[in-house]
Amino acid sequence: MNEPVIEVCQLSCVFGRVTAVREVSFAVPQGSIFALVGRNGAGKTTTLKSLMGLVRPASGEARILGLDCQKQGYRLRRRVGYLPESRANYAYMTVSEVLQFARSLHSCWDEDWVRDSLSEFDLSPGKRVGDLSAGMKTQLGFLLATGHRPDVLILDEPTAGLDPVRIRQLLRLLVQKTAQEGCTILLSSHALHHVERIADHVAVMADGQIETIGQIEDLKHSEKRIRVVFQVDPPQELFERDEIVRLQRDGRRFLVTVQGNPERVMQDFRRIPHFALDLLDMNLEEMFWEYTGRDESDEV
């Protein structure tokens, strides 16, 4: 595993009586795409803002490229690109004027990359920012975040407002940035299927805390689901075991979430007469529901 480029240690952010982020810790290896997923209000944006020095943490610390996010923000922002949650920009400026303004603030600026991306995104340089659609504003925000060829990209909901074609284009660009330039990307998203396509690490946040974290493939393999329809009522002790982390029941139909090796559980289930018994892989969306949607009732 590469050295971590982003290190967050026991970070907490408090606004009045509300604890938006509670003792969050994670590390993002160089060249990886790390996704923070979670429901609205889970603390994703606050975590990203604190990394950019926009929010002061109540405790804990965060470092990017070895630089303290709170104390060395100026040096850090030269090497980090940030796409904020709010895509609103200077509405009275044209696209080229906003880009010109951003360029004047950076010591280096990749004019060729920006020009090529502008035409790829079909963004008209002469169009006023206020007249751009939500998707175009996201694209412009992405260009502003990447124009100076940052080592690290922090993207808050990068696919929000984009149509499927543009989403595909953006995801390809993100993968390109990591593969060709070694850029490290930390993003937050609700679009789990997009995250699953490009991210190699994921942290699921709920109520300001990280519920689970790891490489997507490891997480997916660490938990499995068993769907079983018994012919008779099974004994209660069949489900009383450490491997079973969640049980959903509808009559004699059961959906059982198992952590670790599911084979022993399957063997025990096979002993009971049943109509169907299937072992199912979990995708990121199902994992997300496991950790964040426990209050919701879902069908077995």
Binding site: F15, K49, M52, G53, L54, V55, R56, G73, Y74, R77, R78, V80, Y82, P84, E85, S86, R87, A88, N89, Y90, A91, Y92, F101, A102, S104, L105, H106, S107, G141, L144, A145, H148
Partner: protein, 253 residues
């Protein structure tokens, strides 16, 4: 880096309509003072005003420099500077926040201090420029109606007037940092101006009344710039700007 030229220029550009419209308005109302003077003299010949107003107006109509000074510094420039200070000071940070561009700006490689100083300086330069240019222009304009004012005498009112305006501007900055909405900040700035001006309603507090200094009354009476007052007001303005800076640094965005 303690200053960002790019942010300064952006601010200038952003406030362009404020200074174009405000400057044009101030210039026109300023030009009306010398141009209307002869007509005012003629008009008032047949009108008798009651007691104190009659003598005050009579004194002004007999003395063109006093007329111009009292109406320019005491009315036109006075009101204009209060409004502009509230608009420029109140909206500088709050407008960025209310339109959602603040996160983008703070994510750029510019220190927060540089953003503050550049924005503050841009507003102050605009405020001073828009006030100073028409003031200087009034001297040649007076020639058109055959009156003469000495420019070096007339601009002596500017230091204390601009220092007072900068204090209002800094106070409005504090409100602009606290409030997230530019309209609310401008309204609160206007209320703040009224509160500060209220001191001038009490005769015993005239020496420290900001309204008196903004109108440069002392300078007109003595003919000399009241440098101690300019220094004291500038210090107060710097303290208010420092308070705005501390609030700005301490906020989460």
């Amino acid at each position: 880096m303690r200053f960002s030229w790019a942010v300064f220029v952006k601010e200038m550009r952003e406030a362009r309509w404020k200074w174009i419209i405000g400057g044009a308005f101030l210039f026109l109302t300023g030009a009306s003072l010398p141009l209307l003077f002869p007509y005012l003299q003629q008009m008032m010949q047949g009108i008798t005003l009651p007691g104190p107003w009659a003598s005050a107006l009579d004194a002004q109509l007999r003395n063109y420099p006093a007329y111009l000074w009292l109406n320019w510094y005491g009315k036109n420039l006075f009101q204009f500077l209060l409004v502009m200070a509230a608009l420029l000071g109140g909206s500088s940070i709050s407008a960025e926040r209310s339109r959602g561009s603040w996160e983008f700006l703070l994510a750029q490689p510019v220190s927060k201090t540089a953003v503050f100083i550049s924005k503050y300086a841009a507003g102050l330069v605009l405020l001073f420029a828009v006030a100073a240019v028409p003031t200087v222009f009034l001297a040649p304009l007076s020639r058109l109606i055959g009156e003469y004012i000495q420019l070096t005498w007339f601009i002596r009112g500017l230091p204390v007037t601009l220092a007072s305006a900068s204090l209002f501007y800094s106070l409005c900055w504090i409100l602009g940092v606290i409030l997230d909405d530019s309209l609310k900040a401008a309204a609160a700035g206007a209320a703040c101006c009224v509160a500060v001006l209220a001191i001038g309603w009490f005769p015993a507090l005239q020496r420290i009344a900001l309204s008196r200094h903004l109108a440069a009354v002392g300078t007109m009476q003595t003919g000399a710039v009241d440098w101690p007052a300019v220094a004291a007001i500038t210090l107060l303005s710097a303290a208010a700007a420092g308070a705005a800076y501390q609030l700005y640094r301490g906020r989460d965005y």
